[in-house]
Amino acid sequence: MSVDISPELTPELLASRRNAPPGSQVVFGLKAIYGLSPRSYQFPINERESIESGQISISADPDVDPSFNIGVIDYDRLKLKVRYGVQIVFPGLWKLVTEGNHDPSLLNPVRAMATDTCTVTEDLRGWHALGLLQFLPGSIWAGAEGG
C-alpha cells in the first residue's frame, strides 16, 4: 500500500503552526449554570388554563453528556455562542400537584436545551443573551421552543 505525502506539509509549516500566537476564538465547556427568573410567568397547562410559574430556577442538566455543553467566544468581536442542557424547576407545578388532583409526575425535572447568542460585556465579566429554549419530551411543556 502506498502513502501519498503532500508536498505542502513541511517541517517548516508545522513549526510555524506550533509557534503561532493564540487566536482570538476560544472553545470552552460549560461546567455549571445557575439562574433565577426575576418574576413569575403565566405558563399554560392546556388549551384554556394556565398557572403562575413562580420564580423559576434553572441549572445544568446532570443527565446531559458533558460534551453537549459547549460554546465559542470571539474576543475580537466580543461575541459568544453557547449550547447547554438545563433542568428547570417551577414552584407553580408543586402548588398545582399539592393543591389539585394532578399527576405527581408533573414534579419530574423539566428538561430543555438552550442556545444563547450574545454580546460579551467589554470588561469580559459577563454577557446578556437572546436565547432559544426547547423543552424536551417528558414534561408538560414538551414541544415548546424558541422562535
Binding site: F28, G35, V82
Partner: protein, 36 residues
C-alpha cells in the same frame, strides 16, 4: 461569569399557542478547551 438570558418560548397549539418571554439572571462556569 455573570450570565443573563431572555428566551422566547412559543407554545404548541395543544397548549393554546401564543408565546412568552422568560428572563433568567445568574452565573455560568466556563472551562477553556481550545484556542483557535
Amino acid at each position: 461569569m455573570q450570565w443573563g438570558s431572555q428566551f422566547l418560548v412559543n407554545w404548541p397549539t395543544h397548549l393554546g399557542g401564543g408565546s412568552v418571554y422568560v428572563d433568567f439572571e445568574g452565573s455560568m462556569v466556563l472551562t477553556p478547551l481550545l484556542s483557535l
